[in-house]
Amino acid sequence: MALESNIPSGPLAQKWDKHKFELKLVNPANKRKFEVIVVGSGLAGASAAATLGELGYKVKCFCYQDSPRRAHSIAAQGGINAAKNYQNDGDSVHRLFYDTIKGGDFRAREANVHRLAQVSVNIIDQCVAQGVPFAREYGGLLSNRSFGGAQVSRTFYARGQTGQQLLLGAYQALSRQIGMGTVKMYPRTEMVDVVVVDGHAKGIVVRDLVSGEISSHAADAVVLATGGYGNVFFLSTNAKGCNVTSIWRAYKKGAYLANPCYTQIHPTCIPVSGDHQSKLTLMSESLRNDGRVWVPKRKEDCTKAPGSIAEDDRDYYLERKYPSYGNLAPRDISSRAAKEACDSGRGVGPGALGVYLDFSAAIKRLSLNVIRERYGNLFDMYEKITGENAYQVPMRIYPAVHYTMGGSWVDYNLMSSLPGLFVVGEANFSDHGANRLGASALMQGLADGYFVLPYTIGNYFATCKQTRPATSHTEFKKVEEDVRKFTERLLSVKGKRTPTSLHRELGKLLWEKCGMARNEKGLKEALKRIPELREEFWKTVNVTGEAMEFNQALEYAGRVADFMEFGELMCLDALERNESCGGHFREEFQTPDGEAARNDDKYAYVAAWEYQGAGKAPVMHKESLEYSEVHMSTRSYK
């Protein structure tokens, strides 16, 4: 199937308005005849489910957690971007659009990003109306701060818990619809497959995580809002339960996966402390507003107490290399610079895998109280995890997997290559290109869920005219049977290794070969090793317990099985992209001063992979990226 991006014609700034007018509508009285399944209840899923419910559709929403309020959007700390220009510092829709395209290293779809910037202003209004307690100035108006990759202050925030407050806003809107009966919520329920009838996604099969029961749900359309796949690396800042299962199983049913190699390594996380580590914790990028990043100039100083190292003996490498953005250089660039500093033997802390994030200058300039007010909860969290007081000694930070720009390929309407299957939020590939800017994930999740999908899905209903099958349809029964067999297979191996140990091994391999820097040799090694490891998984995994009970080992093993397959596609995508761009840094392709060297002539496209069946090589489809308003320049933050 050819990739049809369905980008509307006309000037960039008018595309979305024109498209909204051209979209077919569903009569209010007819909306209740359409049923929609939303999988996931984070910012994208909860906002979509709530809005669709308000519009009058019959909605079912599923999440694996015990409550929709626990989705991992809740952990986002720093903020949400919007082109409000409340600070009168020259911001505009066009500037936010441009910063996002540039931040994504010219690998995002222009029309989608412009729409995102346009609706960003509505998101803030919506959230304020819901009672989201954004930070305010003494005059009573909303406060802003700046984030990486921008020279304006456009980030709205609620202390260090912006994601929590935005998610609770969406959760409350969703709860209101659940109370009114327009949305039915299924917590502790995991989607295990998509059901396709006559070429359209018409339902899902789920496992009730408490009873183990497998059941089918039919709908007129399915929306996946299941987040990113960062846990393929085992260690990431994602929640323990985050997984690739829904988009991976949809991929096997015809929903192409786009740019899986684009993963974001966040520069400011708490370093790994040992082999027991189960996950990594982010320290918000907002800290870089006031914290200065440095390492000692000399290797021999690395083991000294940071306070004893003279100012002249410190290398504030971000300020040195990127004077105009300084400590607020974008994430991919800051992460690579940290890696470079540690690779040169100047890392600090255990294993020399850390750099300092120092607040002493800011405390001197602004006072301890101001810093405490701005970042108190982050300093507390740092102390709980490391046992160190960052008001007195600099924080130690190191990059960690944080976000995945790749995901299901979607057209301008957020519909995947499988008709009737929509993908929103981090789970799709659409808006961040090869690198996401800080405070843009919350923006995209809510843009998709509140303001884009509710329009575009109506057009699908109004034009597709397909009937909704009953769950007694043979296709549902067949998929249920497949799912039961898969579960049985996992439980019957009864080998010697735990799912965790196998997952950890996969993650380590991917971090080394397909992490912050990649090269052809390493990727080829990974592509050889992953199928072996997958075979080991299926020969040696030990999944305890039974199918028909609350069985966390079984849930987890199913997710790891998918990571074992997905990791291979990620490496293949990284190998095929013979250039460096954003978070995808191929060591063979760099400028003399070590920056990413893009190859626009050959690689200005989205790589969308089509599944061909087990054991067969997937086929890559290319969607070429055309820019009408921006010039594809070399990205510079110097």
Partner: protein
Amino acid sequence: MNLTLKVWRQKNGQTEGHFETYPARDIIEDMSFLEMLDVVNEGLISSGKDPIAFDSDCREGICGMCSLVINGIPHGGHAGTATCQLHMRRFKDGETITIEPWRAKAFPIIKDVATNRSAFDRIIQAGGFVSVNTGGTPDGNALPISKEVSDRAMDAAACIGCGACVAACKNASAMLFVAAKVSHLNLLPQGEPEKHRRALAMVTQMDKEGFGSCTVTGSCEAVCPKEIKLTFIAKLNRDFGVAALLGK
């Protein structure tokens, strides 16, 4: 360090539970409490036993999924700390640690130390929201809100819905949870139009779920990982009282 764990094991909600004792060996100070349990579970799986079922997700102290009563205190008794943020440097070599689930009628046990807290969701569904639909909302700066009010609302809104307040209360009361949401919304002008209805509806649902009464002993505040203040209960009582008097 080496520890001894006494853990509540219960196959499901229909069967009776009991304590089992497990050794936890070679535990490192930098481990979180849940990472220590991961190590114990890896050992249990390797010896063919059923691992301990416990809830956790973000492991950053914000999702509210983790829920253990540790040595008799929900989340283990360190100020402002959820179980997932509790680290083993807080324990001593050789110590025996008792691990139990949240205990409350309204939070039935699913398995071992994992419980069902959907009652909290139903309380929010009863009125813990502002009734606005998507779209058509006024400009964010059209409604100035004083920083003090906004900050107080944020203090209340910081609740993570973990249920430690209920687990700590001798009556298994959910007053702190309900007070936090009612206060967050009722303090703000956006929540003003529905403030009476909200207080009544949420308290009614709370009672219906089987949570006990509040006698303001403050055990909830003491264990709250987000340090939500007891004074919000006074705010809830006031809003509820006014609403009841007005017959709303």
